[in-house]
Symmetry: C2
């Protein structure tokens, strides 16, 4: 897919906002940009933004950062990732006309006479990208300075994340007083996010022929206790700054054994702990493996000295901190009031991990606010009713212009 | 490995028995014959046996059957498989001279001044093949008629087994009153064998993003109960016809999950039940999944209606019946007496499944009697002290000549 055709993004200055937004969405949806293949779309975004004299455009890897420099007292960051999860017969995308059987029933019911954008990225998160491109092009004199971040590799392991790389290499590019990430929220505000850690819990045994099982030690049988502990664990609902975060502790993968007639000498249970923003990463890890287990990303297996998996081998696989909701910031209150007025929705806790947490680590309060239903992200039939574009753009223009 | 060089088996009629046996072993050990690649060795065995006018030689696939037709009252079958498990840096084989550090300590201790054959197949089961080739060539007037079976695909799934194919296509080729299978027993007699069944025990769940685990149902967590049942199961020691069979019930493989951030919708525990010859295959299956579950090889998943795994999905993967020890047959008593005299060993129960069970199904009592330590079968450092050849040949010549 690397030989993607040349992509051009253009905006007709004479077009009404609704038409301009839809045209921008069409253009970026048509660009195949599964993680690792964002390059051509990034190039097009960079060229597009470089055409506006009110923006300073910088690039690091496949991430583009464009900023106004109006000397305003405050600066708001608008960030969206350009990559998507892999396609599954849902590329190229297209508009579904009203009545199309591919339109999900709940969308057809609520938006009976609307076109629906269908295909990979239709919620996660090209609609928000399209709105941000529109704002970047048209908000030449906003009430706050603005920084737009279009980044790569959000849908894969945290260490590849383009926003993370910019935060590490050029933290000055993304300084600000508040950040909005365009992850899909159906134009509601979702504040903060749960943190997540993933790790293998490992049992060891002794291999033997299964006809002489007593000469070995069965590592899969030993994993019963790990699964029993998972079943005994009761996930908590944790209130933080007025929003409620629902935690979760789950085995997502399990593997063990070397052959059908061999007593297995190892079993690995891959566990994902999603924890509320009342806990630091270190506190969350301590609850799983004790405070001094010593297991870090890339340093192999260490025995849990406490916590849920005390006594078992632990190998860290991924970790990302939680973020407290940024709802006490003044701009957040203003944004929340606008969202309440246009959608009737109150701010909610974000459950999945998003780059909100990355801004939180940089000391920038951040929320998610994007078009499209978050439950459709990564689905085969990812789709979004067209009016979400105008709704999101309206809220942001009124908050920023 | 299919381009194996042309293999020739020859026997110097003037050589003493010890030298002749060692020479035969060298020749067949040098032939690479991992399952699927037995062909060239089978060809050589067929050519070798066809040179003796007292033998009628037949072939089916890569299995060679050679018989005497002396009109004796009774017929004894001698069977050995020609294939080996895959090589792991243990091919080509070689003789280790006394003092070689590759000789295992227990063998060096018991056979201090002996050469040791080292390499793939050195116990399982080319020594017995060599002895049988020697008997085939030299026993021109045995006291019973003899049928030699050299067969393929013993070390892989039961449906590929060459002896099974001959039993199905040409049962008349392998009729007899008693059978000796040359699986390694250190020249002791091992009677009968445990049966074995393998099946997947399956749990089902509902996939969801692990950030919203409550929207799914975790199939790996459900497998806890399966592992708990395995841990609660106490394997029995079962006496049958005076020999004791040790049973075993083990998970040998486990797998589940689709991604690190996805609540798993399926988990499979691959279980191996080794059961004593007091049970038929149907009885063994009933103990695991109930008598009327309906799970058969190749017919997909069925819910266990009883037994250890009642309530779970079962998919049958492999099954082989047990065999009662054939030690009440008159020839078996004679053979047992000779073994007792030469080795001091009493007949024992065979634990692993062997083709003894296949003869048992054909109504032919059968035992295992072969050279080499069964605990070294399939090991990287498979090896056998040279004197085992002469010990085995002596017992068989005195029993048969």
């Amino acid at each position: 897919m690397n030989e993607a055709k040349h992509i051009t993004i253009s905006l007709d200055p004479a077009a009404p906002r609704k038409a301009a937004l839809s045209a921008l969405l069409e253009q970026i949806m048509a660009a195949y940009s599964v993680s690792d293949d964002e390059g051509p779309l990034t190039d097009a975004v960079e060229r597009f933004l470089s055409g506006f004299p009110h923006l300073t455009v910088r690039r690091h890897g496949d991430t583009v950062v464009a900023s106004t420099s109006l000397g305003r007292e405050r600066r708001v960051i608008l960030a969206g990732h350009l990559d998507t999860v892999p396609v599954i017969d849902n590329f190229p995308p297209r508009w579904l006309e009203p009545g199309d059987p591919l339109i999900r029933p709940e969308i057809a019911r609520e938006h009976p006479s609307e076109r629906v954008m269908w295909g990979r990225g239709a919620t996660d998160m090209k609609p928000a990208d399209a709105v941000m491109l529109y704002l970047a092009a048209t908000l030449t004199a906003p009430r706050v300075d603005l920084t737009y971040v279009f980044y790569d590799h959000e849908e894969v392991a945290a260490e590849q994340n383009g926003l993370r790389k910019v935060a590490e290499s050029h933290p000055d590019w993304i300084r600000g007083d508040f950040a909005i990430i365009g992850e899909p929220t159906s134009c509601g505000i979702e504040g903060g996010c749960n943190g997540t850690i993933r790790f293998d819990v490992v049992t060891h045994g002794v291999a033997a022929h299964s006809a002489r099982a007593w000469m070995g030690e069965n590592a899969i049988h030993k994993a019963a206790d790990i699964l029993n502990r998972l079943n005994a664990y009761e996930p908590a609902d944790v209130p933080v700054d007025g929003l409620t975060y629902r935690e979760g502790l789950n085995a997502t993968l399990i593997s063990g054994g070397k052959g059908t007639n061999v007593i297995p000498d190892e079993c690995r249970v891959h566990v994902n702990y999603r924890f509320a923003p009342d806990k630091t990463l270190a506190e969350a890890k301590a609850l799983m493996m004790g405070a001094d287990a010593g297991a870090e990303l890339g340093n192999g297996e260490h025995v849990a000295t406490g916590g849920v998996f005390e006594g078992y081998g632990i190998e860290m696989r991924d970790e990302s901190p939680a973020a407290r909701p940024g709802m006490d910031a003044p701009f957040a209150r203003r944004l929340a009031a606008l969202v309440r007025e246009r959608t009737g929705r109150e701010p909610m806790a974000k459950l999945g991990w998003t780059d909100v947490a990355r801004f939180s680590q940089l000391g920038v309060p951040a929320v998610n606010l994007g078009a499209g239903d978050p439950l459709l992200a990564h689905k085969h039939d990812e789709q979004m009713p067209e009016s979400q574009l105008e709704l999101l753009a309206g809220i942001l223009v009124d908050a920023l212009a």
